[in-house]
């Protein structure tokens, strides 16, 4: 498309975020991802109004039923409605995923930028810190923390966040290092920009794009991790529904009623797909050079 004045003007009214959204929706992959993610988020937010039954109410006479009109995804060994548990479980999943990813991004950004831009000795210390944390297997680290403070949702959030910081921190550090030597940073310095200004105005927006993509792709991992920890009995305590505990129940009862494990697995797969699609599309959109490559 020609870049004549007439075609440029409409973009003026749109904000940067609106611009990204606009291009995201034009990409079929992005659209599908966005729809799936919106459904997951909306169902988590409005879970208490969506669920047809109390997800922790026992109903022994109706136990281990297959799907029916009354119970869309059947019931478990205690007669609890699986559909309600899946919806409420999504809440737990996002309650874990969002603060974890948010915290990991924040600390990863701060530490990564300091390591990438700061003096060499500070870089060495931070990298050593990252390597130390990274060398613990997440599950072992979780076991140790749980043994100390007992299982709870906050423990899971804390453990996953701490072990995810290095992933983000390293990406940010590498990006910052390659950016700090680029000529536009020199140009900014030659025009008198302070370190803080270079970091926030110039390095941050360059780092944020790849980071957003990484985060979108990391959310399913975190949800899976939470499910895994709950599956091991280290996360959410029993009556509270989570996708992991659903899978755990389903695994035990796979011969009697396969519905449980299917119902617990589908949202996990959907979340993975949705966020991965969104992440893929986001990667093309946040880079202004790639933006609109296919959509125009």
């Amino acid at each position: 498309m020609a870049t004549s004045a007439k075609t440029i003007k409409p973009t003026k009214a749109r904000s940067e975020l609106g611009d990204i959204l606009h291009h995201l929706v034009r990409d079929p992959l992005g659209l599908v991802g966005l729809i799936i993610v919106s459904i997951i988020i909306l169902s988590a937010v409005f879970a208490p109004w969506i669920v047809p039954y109390d997800p922790i109410a026992l109903n022994i006479p109706d136990r281990m039923q297959g799907p029916s009109l009354a119970h869309l995804a059947g019931t478990d060994q205690l007669g609890r409605d699986t559909f309600s548990r899946v919806i409420m479980g999504g809440r737990v999943a996002l309650q874990v995923a969002l603060p974890t990813i948010g915290g990991a991004i924040f600390f990863g950004l701060v530490l990564g930028m300091i390591a990438g831009y700061g003096p060499k000795w500070l870089d060495n210390i931070i990298v050593l810190l990252f390597d130390t944390v990274r060398s613990f297997p997440t599950v072992m680290f979780a076991l140790a923390v749980v043994a100390l403070v007992g299982p709870s949702l906050n423990t899971v959030i804390f453990v996953i966040m701490v072990t995810s910081i290095p992933t983000y921190g390293r990406v940010v550090r590498t990006l910052t290092q390659s950016l700090r030597n680029s000529e536009f940073i020199d140009a900014e310095r030659s025009l008198g920009a302070s370190v803080f200004r270079i970091m926030t105005v110039h390095i941050l927006p360059n780092v944020l794009g790849p980071l957003a993509v990484l985060a979108a792709m990391d959310i399913p991992t975190v949800v899976g991790l939470e499910a895994g920890l709950s599956f091991l009995g280290m996360g959410v305590k029993p009556p509270t529904p989570s996708w992991g505990s659903l899978l755990n129940d389903g695994y035990n009862l796979i011969r009697n009623t396969p519905w449980l494990i299917i119902a617990g697995g589908i949202p996990l797969i959907l979340t993975t797909l949705g966020f991965t699609f969104l992440g893929e599309a986001l990667r093309d959109v946040v880079d202004p050079k790639l933006r609109g490559r296919g959509s125009k």
């Binding site: 004045a5 003026k12 000529e183 140009a187 110039h202 927006p205 946040v286």
Partner: protein, 325 residues
């Protein structure tokens, strides 16, 4: 000389290397008079970039200033701390870099970058935007207002360089340092940029320190020229004098190598034989002696920088009256 904006005196800079200090600049003295364009020429590695970085105090961490002063409006920049330099850069001294494809933040629109650069001014957003558009128009970018919404990659190389110049001139600095701003551009654009630079000098009333290894550009644009070789100033003066009557063999050789000067058909372009001397272990005498076609006994001693004509000086023994010819 009336009104000197930048006065570099006996500046020496060396880099720490595993082999010992590399003396990149030795006793550099040069001046940029008010509202004049001064060119610095010299081949790669002669210390042009080191000199500018020393002036704006953005040297590599292993660089040390071993002597000298850099007087900008009679204040020694070498005594300025980071805060003072930051207050000066972009306001009083601005810089344009060599590669226009790299000098802009790729993920921010040109408008955002040009507005951001005005963070020191207490203006409203729309005023800043207007000023950015005015600056773009000033450097000759058509439809400036609309183009503020575009990203750097949507501009051509020549336009990006003009944007870089616009950004550097935003605060109407008294000194613009241009580090080979036309090297990465093709010949037609080079002419445009140079014309524009000269017009801008008149409009904004700034001095320009213009670094290049293209003699034609220097001759076209500059009022004065400083010829550098291996970290020393070998010849300096009025452009006309230096280029029409070069008194240092290096300047002569450089001029002979310029394809624009060749009149006869030739298969091989002329070159200066040899290489720049090792700056860690410097030769005793004249730094150019090894490559000089007019080498003689006196060259084993270091030549003095001496006046040749009224507006022209060089560092060569040949200019000592009794030794000529």
């Amino acid at each position: 000389m009336a009104g000197v904006i930048l006065d570099v005196r006996n500046l020496s800079v060396s880099y720490d290397t595993p082999r010992g200090p590399l003396k990149a600049l030795r006793n550099i003295s040069m001046q940029v008079p008010e509202k004049k364009i001064v060119g610095i020429v010299g081949e790669s590695g002669c210390g042009k970039s080191t000199l500018i970085l020393a002036i704006i105090q953005l040297m590599a961490p292993n660089a040390n200033v071993t002597s000298g002063e850099v007087l900008f409006k009679d204040n020694d920049l070498l005594n300025h701390d980071l805060k003072q330099m930051q207050a000066l850069l972009g306001v009083e001294i601005s810089m344009v870099f060599q590669d226009p494809m790299q000098t802009h933040n790729p993920v921010l629109t040109v408008g955002r970058q040009m507005i951001d650069i005005q963070y020191r001014d207490k203006l409203s957003y729309s005023e800043k935007r207007q000023r950015a558009a005015d600056m773009l128009a000033l450097v000759g970018i058509p439809d400036a207002e609309a183009r503020l919404n575009q990203y750097p990659f949507e501009f051509s190389g020549g336009m990006r360089q003009r944007i870089a110049i616009a950004m550097a001139l935003m605060a109407k600095p008294s000194l613009l340092i241009a580090d080979e701003p036309t090297t990465a551009l093709d010949a037609t654009l080079e002419v445009q940029i140079i014309k524009r630079l000269r017009e801008l000098r008149d409009e904004i009333d700034c001095s320009i320190l213009f670094i290049s290894h293209h003699l034609g550009v220097i001759a076209e644009l500059c009022d004065e020229v400083v010829v550098m070789y291996a970290g020393e100033v070998v010849e300096a003066g009025n452009v006309r004098d230096v280029f029409h009557a070069p008194s240092h063999p290096y300047t002569k050789a450089l001029l002979e190598c310029d394809p624009g000067h060749i009149k006869e058909k030739t298969r091989n372009l002329p070159t200066i034989p040899g290489e720049i001397p090792d700056l860690v272990e410097l030769p005793e005498g004249c730094v150019f002696a090894e490559r000089c076609s007019k080498i003689h006994d006196a060259c084993s001693a270091r030549p003095e920088f001496q006046v040749v004509t009224e507006s022209h000086a060089a560092a060569c023994h040949l200019n000592n009256g009794e030794l000529v010819k």
